[in-house]
């Protein structure tokens, strides 16, 4: 036997970072809830909703969640492998680089530095750092695996391996971009393809960053806390392989009824429904691990956190497949129901299991009893009540607005043609959500106090030292069989896992990229002008996609409210796509030409001037901020590299072209008495908004009556024809934007 000292200092560092970022990220979330309840909470420009929302999501997912993962992985891996982490220096670099990355990325979001893709907002330079840090983590993890003193890898470690490999693949594939500057890039994908890759990433980021590592932690910490072995090891084998295989396929359910090819949508739906089986298998395995220990739930806050967390996992993994069914999704998508669903997973499953783990770890890591178990109990009930306030209010808000959007009068007109009528209807529920957020954050603050008092009373720190066999790795399986071989051979496990996760992505993406009929070309669709491109970048910078979609689905109500439904070929120059996932405000894909330039200027200056009751923040600063065209030539060059057919001479002419178009718009504004706007940001944004959805002449087609083709087909590609019934009702009246 030899003595091994586990590196517990790094676990403590990640634990404290998790708590600190939790307070910051959840405070930002609460502030966002207040901004939606009352627009005056927006503090432009840096704390406007569009900029603060990516800060919040990244702070809770990658900072709070990420640090929780590293804390749990570093603690359990060492003990399961009976080996100290591979390299202390790598551990420290991993820790500090991760915190720095989040800090730089988060501050960047507040300054509008973003790629404009949800949960992948970090710009390319930060993406590179993230990639390096992830590789360091992988080296440290697999280095520890290589020098383990236990032959077989326990199930928790498979989930960690699945996480490390899949996140690397997702990050690389979705992050491919061509830089314009250190803080600006354009993704290599456009439109439909960008949407598919992004939601393949987005869904699997949830699956492999917020699910698999926490399942690994569940398989380690729940048996520890309950002092019972995992209920069924066989079920865990099935759980792992079925989950990692099925999860990858489900991404397209985020794009139902959009311009994504129908076969891909159906594929996403079917596999999402199938995902229920492994998810519930895992949930039951977790809950039944508590068999024989149910009585402890009355007194042990840790088990309460774990049991509630696993229950929320079961709830959200039931709700997810339900919402992925196309007919349900037709109602739920773009509504607050999605927000409620996401939070039942995030603050229910991820949050509660993290809190349970921290309460279990703190007395062990600091070798002193927890300051107050009563306060831990108070934390549990505060958090639980907060979650219920949050998700129930969002469920009601989501169903309410979904139904109101779709309701018609007996005369066949939209019952609520003014979008704002619906926004104001659900406003009280936004306040209830904010109360839920306050309770949840309050619970976290109680925990921070409890942990701080515990640490104050702790003796001097020392790493845990254990006796382990100084011999070749020992075996837990007397007989050789194929899965035992896999469990004892990390390389084989890694290769098989990579193959299993690759299948779904390849089957969905390759045809979408290679088969032209998936994205029919529309000759009328032209690249953005230089000024519109700059305006688009402002749209991305201000995070408009966080509240506005750009995707009119082929539903009667959406065509009646917004205009002709969106076609795949209309987005071929959109790097990145801006379809959005939420309609706090109305869809903008057909907003071009709907209002005059002055309306847009007044709306951006103060949304309540044009739309009384609006909860949109003011963008007055865009009327003062000088438009920067210094990067426009580089942007045109990069777009040319991406295949956008700009003529070569546009690289040198683009600034003059942008100024000329800006002058046209400012001259139009001058007729209404508004002067001095020709060199301001707002002009570029107006140019972009006025361009949206106008390449195909759907308004003219609607005016001409039935059976009119609104696009010019390419000889070899599919003709996209507007359906008369839909176009005929696509008047833009009363959208209340």
């Amino acid at each position: 036997m030899i003595k091994v000292k586990y590196d517990d200092k790094i676990v403590r560092m990640f634990l404290l970072a998790c708590l600190g970022w939790g307070v910051i990220g959840m405070s930002a979330g609460l502030w966002l809830a207040l901004e939606l309840s009352n627009w005056k909470f927006n503090l432009d420009p840096h704390i406007n909703f569009g900029r603060l929302r990516p800060f919040h999501t990244n702070a809770v997912v990658f900072a709070f969640g990420g640090n929780a993962i590293f804390c749990g992985v570093y603690y359990s891996t060492q003990r399961l492998l009976k080996a100290r982490m591979f390299n202390d220096v790598i551990s420290r670099i991993h820790f500090w680089a991760w915190q720095l990355l989040i800090l730089v990325g988060g501050v960047g979001f507040l300054f509008g530095i973003t790629q404009g893709k949800e949960y992948a907002e970090l710009e390319w330079s930060a993406d590179v750092i993230l990639g390096i840090v992830w590789v360091l983590f992988a080296v440290n993890f697999f280095g520890t695996v290589a020098r383990r003193r236990v032959k077989h890898l326990y199930v928790a470690l498979w989930f960690y391996i699945g996480t490390i490999l899949t996140i690397a693949v997702l990050h690389i594939v979705n992050g491919l971009a061509i830089p314009v500057s250190l803080t600006k890039s354009y993704p290599i994908y456009a439109g439909v393809q960008d949407a598919l890759v992004q939601w393949w990433y987005g869904h699997n980021a949830v699956g492999f960053f917020l699910t698999t590592p926490f399942l690994g932690m569940m398989y380690y910490f729940v048996p520890k806390a309950a002092d019972r072995p995992v209920y069924s090891y066989r079920l865990s084998v099935m759980h792992f392989w079925a989950l990692v295989f099925l999860y990858i396929w489900a991404g397209p359910h985020h794009l139902h009824y959009t311009a994504l090819p129908d076969w891909a949508q159906n594929l996403g739906m079917v596999f999402s429904v199938m995902l229920l089986a492994p998810s519930w298998g895992g949930m039951l395995n977790g809950l039944l691990t508590l068999r024989g220990a149910w009585h402890k739930l009355r007194t042990d806050p840790i088990l309460k956190f774990f049991a509630a967390s696993i229950t929320f996992y079961g709830m959200s993994t039931f709700e997810g497949p339900l919402m992925s069914i196309k007919s349900v999704n037709a109602l739920s998508h773009y509504t607050n129901w999605t927000i409620g669903h996401v939070h039942s997973g995030a603050i229910g499953w991820v949050g509660l299991i993290t809190f349970g783990m921290i309460y279990w770890l703190v007395p062990r890591l600091w070798r002193t009893p927890l300051h107050s178990w009563s306060l831990a109990n108070v934390h549990f009930w505060t958090a639980f009540t907060g979650i219920m306030f949050y998700v129930v209010s969002m469920w009601i808000a989501g169903v309410t607005e979904g139904l109101m959007w779709k309701e018609f009068t007996p005369e066949g007109l939209l019952a609520y043609p003014n979008f704002l009528e619906i926004v104001t209807k659900i406003n009280p529920l936004y306040w209830i959500r904010a109360v839920g957020g306050m309770l949840y954050l309050g619970g976290l603050l109680i925990m921070v106090y409890n942990v701080a008092r515990t640490i104050q009373a702790a003796p001097a720190f020392r790493d845990e030292e254990v006796d382990v066999p100084d011999a070749p790795a020992m075996s837990h399986a007397p007989a050789k069989y194929w899965h035992a071989v896999l469990e004892g051979n990390p390389l084989a496990l890694c290769i098989l896992t990579t193959l299993v996760i690759a299948i779904g992505g390849i089957v969905e993406m390759v045809p979408t990229f290679l088969i032209e009929s998936n994205v029919p070309t529309i000759t009328a669709v032209k690249p953005y002008t230089p000024l519109e491109l700059e305006g688009r970048d402002i749209y991305v910078r201000e995070g408009c996609y966080n509240c506005h979609s750009q995707m009119v689905r082929p539903f009667r109500d959406e065509v009646a409210r917004y205009g002709d439904y969106s076609k795949p070929g209309e987005f071929v120059y959109d790097h990145p796509f801006q379809w959005g996932s939420r309609r706090t405000g109305p869809d903008l894909h057909r907003v071009g030409g709907k209002y005059n330039n002055l309306w847009h200027l007044r709306h951006l200056d103060d949304p309540r001037l044009t739309s009384p009751g609006s909860i949109m923040p003011s963008y007055r600063f865009l009327l003062d901020r000088k438009l920067d065209l210094s990067l426009t030539p580089t942007k045109i060059k990069v777009m040319r590299q991406l295949g956008v057919p700009y003529p070569e001479e546009m690289v040198k002419d683009c600034q003059a072209m942008a100024r000329a178009q800006a002058k046209t718009i400012s001259d139009d504004l001058a007729k209404d008495g508004v002067t001095g706007m020709e060199d301001k940001d707002v002009i570029a944004l107006i140019a972009y908004l006025q361009r949206l959805g106008t390449d195909i002449k759907w308004r003219e087609a609607a005016a001409q009556g039935p059976a009119v083709s609104v696009v010019t087909p390419e000889p070899t590609n599919t003709v996209v024809t507007a359906e008369p019934s839909k176009v005929a009702s696509s008047d833009s009246k009363g959208a209340g934007q």
């Binding site: 326990y154 090891y233 076969w263 390759v510």
Partner: protein, 64 residues
């Protein structure tokens, strides 16, 4: 060429093929997991997370 093969094969074949492979794999895995005499092995595996505690107590095998 890859493009031509995919367009010719028809896109609906892909998910069906993947689904069949998935179900078949799961079926074989289930049969293997519940093969006779395997319970003690999985019982030992299930206790791996508790080994520190077991060593202190001289633990026993449990699990399904």
């Amino acid at each position: 060429m890859i493009r031509q093969v995919m367009e010719g094969a028809g896109l609906t074949l892909w998910p069906i093929l993947s689904f069949i492979i998935f179900l078949t794999s799961c079926g074989f895995m289930l049969l293997w997991l519940y093969r006779p005499g395997s319970a003690p092995i999985y019982g030992r595996m299930a206790r791996m997370a508790l080994e520190n505690e077991d060593e202190e107590r001289g633990g026993e095998s449990e699990g399904k």
